[in-house]
């Protein structure tokens, strides 16, 4: 105690006290603050629709119309289902107001998952459509990876490339990369066919097929994938390989040649 009082006039004492005070307040707040989660779970379906309607009127109605009937700036949302809402808003594509260019790009989502669920509930209430999948539907348990690869190459690779790295479409449109896209969103995209993508309803690609494709993508294009051989060079095939061979292969060899040629046995100067 004596030690402490002896140092109470130390120049840094005020800083230490301030830090302690801040830590204490923060800790207390964290301990007693109301938990923010689980609100959506407890609200009833109708309440969630009502909340969703409010969000819709603020963020979406200017393009999609006050009742989701669509306008010259955005399509009708009647019957698109909760899967479409969850995909579009969850991947940040909607709201698109700030997006420019040939197609709406993936962005940071600006609504929380709870808000997206409310929006989805509201849109789903406008007319029946494909519903948001459950985690059971897109989990990779019980999926056949090899089958998924075959399905991917048959149905998806012509736009999204062998390993889902994306590719060009006409007039500046493109098939985006599938790297880092949540399995849920891949499932919803197949179900609803956003933007230029054709939709693959369960009659075309069964639930099991979708599951297989998602598991395949996880196996080849995620942190856990086995892809030996070194740097992937973007996974884009021979164009980047050729560029790499020219710049780093031949470039290095020419540098070596210059180096070797510069080190020559010179005749001694008299």
């Amino acid at each position: 105690m004596k030690k402490l009082s002896a140092r109470r006039r130390h120049p840094l004492a005020a800083v230490v006290v301030l830090l302690l005070a801040l830590a204490a307040t923060g800790g207390l707040y964290a301990a007693f603050a109301p938990a923010s989660k689980a609100q959506a779970d407890e609200t009833s379906q109708s309440l969630s629709i009502e909340e969703g309607k409010k969000l819709y009127e603020v963020g979406c109605a200017s393009c999609h119309g006050s009742g989701g009937q669509g306008s010259s700036d955005g399509p009708s949302l009647v019957g698109v289902g909760s899967a479409a809402v969850d995909f579009q808003v969850g991947t940040g594509r909607m709201p698109a107001a700030t997006s420019q260019g040939a197609q709406v790009p993936r962005k940071k989502a600006i609504y929380s998952q709870a808000e997206i669920d409310q929006l989805a509930a509201y849109i789903a209430s406008l007319g029946a459509g494909p519903a948001k999948p459950t985690s059971e539907q897109y989990s990779k348990d019980g999926a056949d990876i090899a089958k998924g690869g075959e399905l991917f190459r048959t149905n998806c690779a012509q736009c999204h490339n062998f390993t889902g790295k994306g590719g060009a479409l006409t007039k500046g449109k493109y098939a985006p990369t599938l790297e880092g896209v949540a399995p849920k969103h891949i499932y919803e995209a197949m179900l609803t066919g956003p933007q230029n993508m054709p939709s693959f309803p369960d009659t075309t690609l069964s639930e099991q097929n979708k599951k297989d494709i998602i598991a395949y993508l996880h196996a080849i294009d995620s942190g856990e994938s086995t892809n030996p051989g070194g740097l992937e060079l973007g996974g884009l095939g021979p164009v980047t390989e050729g560029l790499f061979a020219w710049i780093f292969g031949l470039g290095a060899l020419i540098a070596v040649a210059v180096w070797v040629a510069a080190r020559t046995a010179k005749a001694k100067k008299s």
Binding site: G101, D144, I145, A146, K147, G149, E150, R153, T154, A157, Q158, C159, H160, N161, F162, T163, K165, G166, G167, A168, L169, T170, K171, G172, Y174, Y216, A219, I220, T226, N227, P228, G229, G230, L231, E232, L233, G235, L236, G237, P238, V239, T240, E241, G242, F244, A245, F248, G249, L250, A252, L253, I254, V256, A257, V258, V260, A261, A262, T264, A265
Partner: protein, 545 residues
Amino acid sequence: MSTSATNESRSRGKAPAGERVADWADGRLGIYSLAKANMRKIFPDHWSFMLGEVCMYSFIIIILTGVYLTLFFHPSMNEVQYHGSYVPLQGQMMSEAFSSTLHISFDVRGGLLIRQIHHWAALIFIAGMFVHMMRVFFTGAFRKPREVNWLFGFLLLVLGMFTGFTGYSLPDDLLSGTGVRFMEGAVLSVPIVGTYLSFFLFGGEFPGGDFVARFYSIHILLLPGIMLGLMVAHLILVFYHKHTQFAGPGKTNNNVVGMPLLPVYMAKAGGFFFLVFGVIAVIAAIAQINPIWAMGPYRPDQVSTGAQPDWYMGFSEGLIRFMPGWEINLWGHTLVLGVFIPLVIFPLVLVAIAVYPFIESWVTGDTREHHILDRPRNAPTRTAFGVAWMTVYFTLLIGGGNDLWATHFNLSINAVTWFVRIFVFVGPVLTFLATKRICLGLQRRDKDKVLHGRETGIIKRLPHGEFIEVHEPLSQEQLHTLTAHEQYTPAEIGPAVDENGVERKVKGAEKLRAKLSRAYFDEDSQIPKPTVEEYKEITSGHGHH
């Protein structure tokens, strides 16, 4: 007596083992005279003379690694089910070729590394040949007596392209299968015989069960065999002609200044081989190439975006991609111009550069031997032609990768394609003119340097207040180097009438030649190099003005 006898017996005694081995070999192989003639062969020193070596060494690396790969590769299109260690393909049906390539990649010790060295070395080999060819082109090393060797080199490039293409097709993966399908489409577009040719090539309907085995023979035996022979011939001719050299003091058209083959170049070349091998091995160890497991086995009903050939075939992909899809239907037959025209242009692009030496020698009418290299600036029309050709080539490469340009630079693929369509015609004209102007500018600069010396950057103030920059005269060696090139005068058609006053008939070819010669060598196409008189007058003490 006894001492001389022992001396005699010693000299008659056994020679050292090395000498005996050499003697044994010489008596049977005649190496001595061969070695005597060539061991002191002189090679000039310049880094660009080592580009051909890069090609030779990468070719050797390709052969060595290729032999290893043949030990494990099964050139068969029999359908098998995959049970190897790559999980995402387990249980899939695929050709034996594909499954054995997976086996090499995942289950053979060192297999993936050797595969990647083989493939990277192939890309570097052909890139090296391209750059080597450009070096020979821009320095005029193709002139007499080396025209035949130029053609040998050109053939090596073309054969290298096709060897590469057949090798790329062997694993029977989805990417290479698409490439083979592309080739089949091009063959099919040939009027009248296309279908027959395709059936002949694939032993029936594409893809059939034959092409991997056929491509295998072509890839490992036929083409590399021819290439090896051509490469030896190429080297023999380099020895026979002796190497060219850049102009410089002491270097004439009749000598070669440099270091002897043994020991200097043997050591250098041997070391350089390992450097090349090392660089390629490092690249193969750090960067993936052609990950066939990610592409999956070939099935004609599947295709992926971003399907391109290796870079050396990229310009043919560009030709197809920028071509509008024209076709003509006549009497129930379709002529697919959208594919057939690119197929016709494809060899023409290559032939354009191959025949250039003969066109140039026809225009200059020069039948002398040339062993001194040109600096590119001193042959402006040739240099401009070469740059224009490269413009076409690289524009087509951009066209071949138009989708990646679109996605990676946020462009519209239509805009990229239209750019290629226009620039492939406009580009070479622009670069031709620009290159010629740059060459002339550099010639003027050389002339200026010869006459006025080097700008030293030292500013001097004269008594009356004027500032001048001090120019330092060049050394005799530098003056020689900058003025050693010779300049042609344009060829004349000759008098319009013969000695009897009768109008002479001038052939069209002669007129064309005179016209081309003017375009090459009139005063708009070369800066007359400084004469001795000019130099004397300027350096005779009138100061720097």
